[in-house]
């Protein structure tokens, strides 16, 4: 198993600093270095540094890149200003979700626009193939279409710097002021010297940036940020707390809340779908939008301490202590103990009839029905505070 796993440019650092390495989507990645809760708390209260080099980074260039991308993704790309970042979905012809992605519109040094698409590591091969297929089809109907896609994942590394002190930490190393970069905006910039891309984005529910630099410069950048961050309470943070952080922020994770059998409306992602434009699955989604039979994504908070996990049944009522007699109304897709709320939380899909916040349900946790209440998502929302 270990032999075939991909490694990020920070692999040696993770190894040397107590990172507990696991196979994540074919990459050898750290779950945590110290403890998940400590890294989670550092990110909520100070700053956490994450190696996210495993994320797929696809670059689309050419005069028609915008036109081509517009026909592939669910969100409107045409008319984006340079520097904008949008969360979008990629759907198949049936409207099932192939991936959730970020699309960056950027401009190179000569001012030519290009697009960067950041995709889930687990979906990178699938999305590269899907994009190639779509681009080939587009080129067949228009041979003069000027667009090229390059998978930059191996040659670029990526670090997320997240938390209330994230901007303070990175500011001295950037050629642009991160505070001047609005949320979901990005720019090419010098990052500690070498050129790269900085975006005001993240997957933690905190403010912060994600930094992309050439793979060879990543190690030095990582060490520099950690050293400078020490006084601010920064910690290196692994995938374990990345999961608890995103779950508290109710951000869906592909393979859990999202898959090819789930449509965006069930997932609560209608904002990420523009039915006024054409893309694969668009017609299927017009029909799906009117269909209220399918289960929808909800959040649950539990009264007890036992933790719900992926795949556990969600039951109709807590009154039915006998798990066998209670009807299943859905399933958990992600569950954890929330370090911030200090309670077990879960996301899952349930029948629409029991999806309203305040509804009392239960989760079958290894044979016992544990009471759970439907809550409005997210579980955690940061209080707006101006970063220094």
């Amino acid at each position: 198993m270990t032999g075939s796993l991909a490694r990020t440019p920070l692999y040696d650092w993770h190894q040397a600093h107590g990172g507990r390495l696991v196979d994540f989507a074919g990459w050898e990645m750290p779950v945590s270095y110290s403890s998940i809760v400590a890294e989670h708390t550092a990110t909520r209260t100070a700053v956490g540094l994450f190696d996210i080099s495993h994320m797929g980074r696809l670059q689309l260039t050419g005069a028609d890149a915008e036109t081509a991308l517009e026909r592939i993704v669910t969100r409107r790309i045409a008319g984006l200003a340079t520097g904008q970042v949008v969360y979008s979905l990629v759907t198949n012809d049936a409207g099932g979700i192939l991936d959730d992605i970020l699309v960056y519109k950027l401009a190179d040094a000569s001012g030519s626009p290009y697009f960067l698409v950041v995709v889930n590591a687990s979906n990178r091969d699938k999305i590269v193939a899907w994009f190639e297929k779509q681009l080939t089809a587009e080129k067949q109907s228009n041979p003069r279409l000027d667009v090229a896609m390059v998978d930059r994942t191996p040659e670029w590394g990526m670090i997320a710097v997240q938390g209330p002190k994230a901007l303070e930490l990175v500011r001295p190393f950037l050629s642009v002021d991160p505070s001047a970069l609005r949320y979901y905006h990005a720019a090419e910039a010098r990052i500690g010297g070498p050129p790269g891309i900085v975006s005001r984005t993240g997957y933690t529910g905190e403010d912060g940036v994600e930094l992309i630099v050439g793979a060879s410069g990543l190690y030095a950048l990582w060490e520099t940020l950690l050293m400078q961050g020490r006084a601010l309470g920064a910690l290196p943070a692994g995938l374990g707390c990345r999961d608890t952080l995103r779950l508290e922020a109710a951000m869906p994770l592909y393979g859990h809340e999202l898959n090819e059998q789930i449509n965006p409306f069930q997932a609560g992602l209608s904002f990420a779908v523009d039915l006024e434009k054409q893309f694969p699955g668009r017609d299927a989604l017009v029909a799906a939008k009117a269909n209220t039979d399918r289960p929808v994504r909800i959040g649950l908070v539990l009264d007890g301490k036992r933790v719900p996990r992926e795949g556990f049944d969600i039951l109709e009522s807590a009154a039915a202590r006998e798990v066998a007699s209670a009807a299943a109304v859905g399933q958990v897709t992600s569950g954890t103990f929330s370090p911030t709320l200090e309670r077990p939380i879960a996301m899952g899909y349930v029948d629409r009839a029991v999806a309203a916040p305040g509804t009392t349900l239960a989760i079958d946790i290894r044979g016992r029905a544990e009471p759970a209440t439907v809550v409005k998502l997210p579980f955690y929302r940061r209080t707006e505070r101006k970063q220094a």
Binding site: S32, I36, V37, T336, F337
Partner: protein, 137 residues
């Protein structure tokens, strides 16, 4: 209740990471059972432990409770058979006892042994350490 921590060398271990210390109490052999420091370190971020009631009878290899971390849940298996004569309720509210003092204040239950011969099947500290070294890879 349990004064000083046991030295790991004085304990026997189950391959499932529980430890046992046997002493004579009121003419009977009583095993103090806990979970090893190695297991606690591997679990990290403990959030919950469920322990049985005093008076329950357990068989060797049977689950007597569960221990839950942020990431996962694990069963606790009894290394020996017998009646549970004491439960460390304090540890449920102070999970840090497990990481701070796994072989002392982090003890979990005491079992009045019904079959002393079962102890022979358990690992000594050196053998257990060898197993842990292998698992760490």
């Amino acid at each position: 209740m349990t004064p000083a921590s046991f030295a790991p060398q004085d304990l026997r271990f189950a391959p499932t990471h529980e430890w046992v210390h046997v002493s004579a109490e009121a003419g009977a052999k009583v095993a103090t059972v806990g979970v090893s420091a190695f297991a606690v370190a591997a679990l990290t971020d403990l959030v919950y432990i469920e322990l049985p009631a005093v008076g329950r009878t357990v068989k060797a290899g049977e689950s007597f409770g569960e221990i839950e971390s942020v990431k996962a849940v694990s069963d606790l298996y009894s290394p020996v058979s017998g009646e549970i004569v004491a439960v460390n309720d304090d540890v449920a509210n102070h999970l840090e006892r497990l990481s701070e003092d796994a072989y002392g204040r982090g003890w979990l239950i005491k079992i009045r042994l019904s079959d002393e011969k079962e102890l022979a099947a358990l690992l000594d500290h050196a053998a257990y350490e060898k197993q842990c070294a292998e698992e760490a890879h």
